[in-house]
């Protein structure tokens, strides 16, 4: 199948075939990534711009490495953590990038919809590396890739996503993607972080982790933003951890050898205990490796042209 899209903005409007093609490409990319000399000439002369409005070490580094392995020139535009009313507007920044003749722009931005805003302006491709609370498609793809590596075909499998679903672009993208692949998804969290409107994602919802766990093949803990406590969304880390923290004891309730995922960075002792984080079933570091492979695949599909590394 020939790749059609200019941009990767979200999973919601992606087809199963597209997801399959990305995962298939990523498999080949992972092979390249595992080589001792990991450098290809494929994207020589192509420029990839990282535009990160939110601080992020792992996602930005992951994109940079992905671009470099494929031979592209990667540039990071440092955007100060300034308020939206100061400095250049995203519109003007987009015009500047257009003039710089970048081939691909990776954007992370605090506003939902910012990636699609940028894509509307640019001729270059855009990859959404997280827009507000909306979507984080590359994270969902790497999560799915990691699950498939361990579990094979995901159809009919059970995935529990627990935590601050309301504010989570990771949960939204995963819910869309996993549903498309026939996975039974259950979102879990306290009513303040999993309010009724999340029914819009079309998956099961529960406020009780213990009753959601039996049969789960995958349990994914979301990062809890500690400042949410100040806004009154939950009373204390202690109670949150008691109700929703992943512990070895609690994970026994799945009655399976379930795998544990976390998008990172972890709050150890809050949403995930030390022993779970360091257990063999926690694939958190593997997620990081696979993240590079997924991003290589996407960069390649968007600007790789006719060159063929996925024979």
């Amino acid at each position: 199948m020939k790749w059609q899209r200019k941009d990767i903005l979200g999973i919601e409007d992606m087809s199963v075939e597209e997801i399959r093609q990305i995962l298939h490409t990523a498999k080949a990319m992972k092979g390249i990534l595992m080589r001792p000399i990991k450098k290809l000439p494929t994207l020589k002369g192509k420029s990839v711009v990282n535009l990160f409005y939110e601080s992020s070490t792992r996602t930005r580094t992951s994109f940079e490495m992905a671009g470099k392995v494929l031979g592209a020139d990667t540039t990071s535009i440092a955007v100060a953590q300034s308020s939206v009313n100061k400095g250049e507007s995203l519109y003007d920044t987009a015009k500047t990038i257009q003039a710089l003749r970048a081939d691909l722009v990776i954007i992370r931005h605090q506003s939902s919809g910012a990636a699609s805003f940028l894509a509307d302006i640019l001729d270059a491709g855009v990859i959404n590396a997280g827009d507000g609370q909306h979507e984080h498609p590359t994270q969902a793809l790497l999560d799915i890739f990691t699950m498939e590596e361990r579990l094979g075909d995901l159809e009919g499998k059970n995935v529990v996503i627990v935590g601050d679903v309301l504010h989570s672009r990771v949960a939204r993208s995963n819910a869309w993607g996993l549903q498309k692949l026939g996975v039974n998804v259950t979102l879990v969290g306290p009513p303040t972080l999993l309010p009724v409107e999340m029914a819009s994602l079309g998956v099961k919802m529960s406020h009780d982790l213990n009753s959601a766990l039996p049969g789960a093949d995958v349990v994914m803990a979301l990062r809890l933003q500690l400042e949410r406590q100040k806004s009154g969304l939950f009373p204390s880390l202690r109670e949150y951890s008691q109700l929703y923290g992943l512990t070895t004891e609690r994970l026994k309730k799945t009655q399976k050898q379930s795998i544990v995922l976390h998008p990172g960075p972890m709050n150890r002792g809050v949403e995930i205990s030390d022993d779970v984080a360091d257990s063999v079933d926690a694939l958190i570091e593997r997620q990081v490796t696979n993240g590079v492979a997924i991003r290589m695949a996407l960069i390649y599909l968007l600007i790789g042209g006719s060159s063929n590394v996925v024979a």
Partner: protein, 436 residues
């Protein structure tokens, strides 16, 4: 003198809804009759030249009165000013507009009231009546000099754009405003519940990951202010009602005899939250667009009189401000030039609302509530009038808009049914869609 022949007059103030001949002389309505002859007319003209308009197939109604516009002057003239805003008004069929007080500086003194009023007079299009703030600096604590501001021409008091969070200040405002006989207009928004939300909380906000504003952010203040108005017997007007719960609260309060009126914005009657797109900020508005059920309740409320009037909440912004990611763009829709035609096309033509009710709600009721000249074509009344052609077609294009703002969801849309002539005190200010 003007002689409008065989025009379908819609004047709910006199329960006229039939073809008539209308005579305008010396800036006033001279006569409305079922038909007039040349002899009748020349007798009444007393030698003055007569301009005759064939009105067959068109409607004539009292000029619309919009009690909620943001004209941005002084201070934000890049968005709009009183001249451009009042030109936009007459292009859209409005002959009187009330200018909200949240300018820079805010209109909290008689000197500023007089400035806005005089700028309106200098512009010379629609009547521009200033609304003063309720509290000094719109800080929500100390009341303004309401009596003095009324002397300067204030038509009402409102901290619109900000809510008066302190219930005691709101209670005192309702009490003190009795000295003026003018209503307090409530912005109806609990700041804490609204938080930094971007659209109405619901399935659509959940899906797009846009922070939600619950309907309760409006309804709890509506409830509070109704209770305060009942207790004080003060005069309350509720701005831009957008939820079914609010409509219900108002209906019950009216049944108890509370002195309250309420308005609804056209966009809340036409759109709902599901129409919002993540990469288009044009429908980002406050209060946010509600659910389909809210929209139905608003239409019902407008029909049964629970909601007294339609008001645009004309909120002009620059294109640069609106061309931003959703969270960063300002709230607001510019609507003076399109609102009447939009209501015609989306509500009157499909039979949801009668034209008589639209005119009552957008002209007669506002005049009555705010004690304004206008809202009627009774002989002797100022000839503020609109000739509306239900067959006239126009595509809404940026180049044709006389407002400085372009933030309307109707850009590129084709309308059928537009105001084609507008008079202010008998003076023709808009003809064939051109502002004169």
């Amino acid at each position: 003198m003007w002689w409008l022949k065989e025009v379908a007059v819609i004047d709910p103030s006199q329960t006229i809804s039939s073809p008539c001949d209308v005579l305008i002389k010396d800036g006033k309505v001279l006569d409305i009759a079922s038909s007039l002859t040349e002899v009748d007319v020349s007798a009444k003209a007393q030698g003055e030249a007569v301009e005759t308009i064939e009105g067959k197939g068109k409607f004539l109604f009292p000029g619309l009165i919009d009690v909620h516009t943001h004209l941005r002057e002084p201070g934000q003239e890049e968005k709009e000013d009183i001249l451009s805003g009042s030109r936009a008004a007459v292009r859209g069929g409005f002959t009187t507009i009330l200018a909200m007080a949240n300018t820079q500086p805010v209109i909290d003194k008689r000197a500023l009231i007089e400035f806005v009023r005089l700028q309106g007079e200098r512009a010379g299009y629609a009547h521009v009546l200033p609304i003063g703030t309720v509290t000094k600096g719109m800080q929500g604590s100390e009341l303004v000099e309401m009596a003095d501001m009324k002397e300067g021409g204030a038509a009402a008091f409102s901290d619109d754009g900000k809510n008066i969070q302190n219930a005691e200040v709101m209670r005192l405002a309702l009490e003190y405003a009795k000295l003026t006989g003018l209503p307090i207009i409530s912005h109806c928004e609990d700041k804490d519940l609204a938080g930094d939300g971007l659209m109405r909380r619901g399935l659509a906000s959940g899906r797009m990951g846009l922070r939600g504003i619950p309907g309760s952010a409006e309804s709890v203040i509506v409830g509070r202010d109704l209770i305060l108005a009942e207790e004080t017997r003060g005069k309350l007007h509720l701005a831009h009602i957008s939820t079914a719960e609010s409509v219900d609260l108002i209906r019950k309060a009216k049944a108890r005899g509370v002195d309250v009126t309420a308005e609804v914005n056209p966009h809340h009657l036409i759109f709902c939250d599901e129409d919002i797109k993540l990469n288009d900020t044009v429908l980002k508005v406050n209060p946010p667009l509600g659910s389909k059920e809210d929209r139905e309740a608003l239409i019902e409320g407008l029909k049964d009189g629970t909601i007294d009037m339609i008001a645009t909440d004309h909120a002009p912004h620059t294109q640069a401000e609106k061309t931003r990611p959703f969270a960063e763009a300002p709230f607001g829709i510019a609507s003076l030039e399109t609102a009447l035609s939009a209501v015609w096309q989306h509500l009157v033509v499909p039979g949801r609302l009668s034209l008589d009710r639209v005119v009552e709600a957008w002209s007669v009721s506002p005049a009555k509530r705010f004690g304004l000249n206008g809202g009627t074509l009774k002989p002797g009344a100022p000839a503020d009038m609109v000739l509306f052609d239900p067959d006239y077609k126009e595509v809404i294009k940026p180049a044709n808009l006389v407002s400085k703002a372009r933030n309307t969801p109707f850009l590129g849309k084709s309308f059928q049914g537009l105001p084609v002539m507008v008079w202010v005190e008998g003076r023709l200010v808009q003809k064939d869609r051109m502002v004169l």
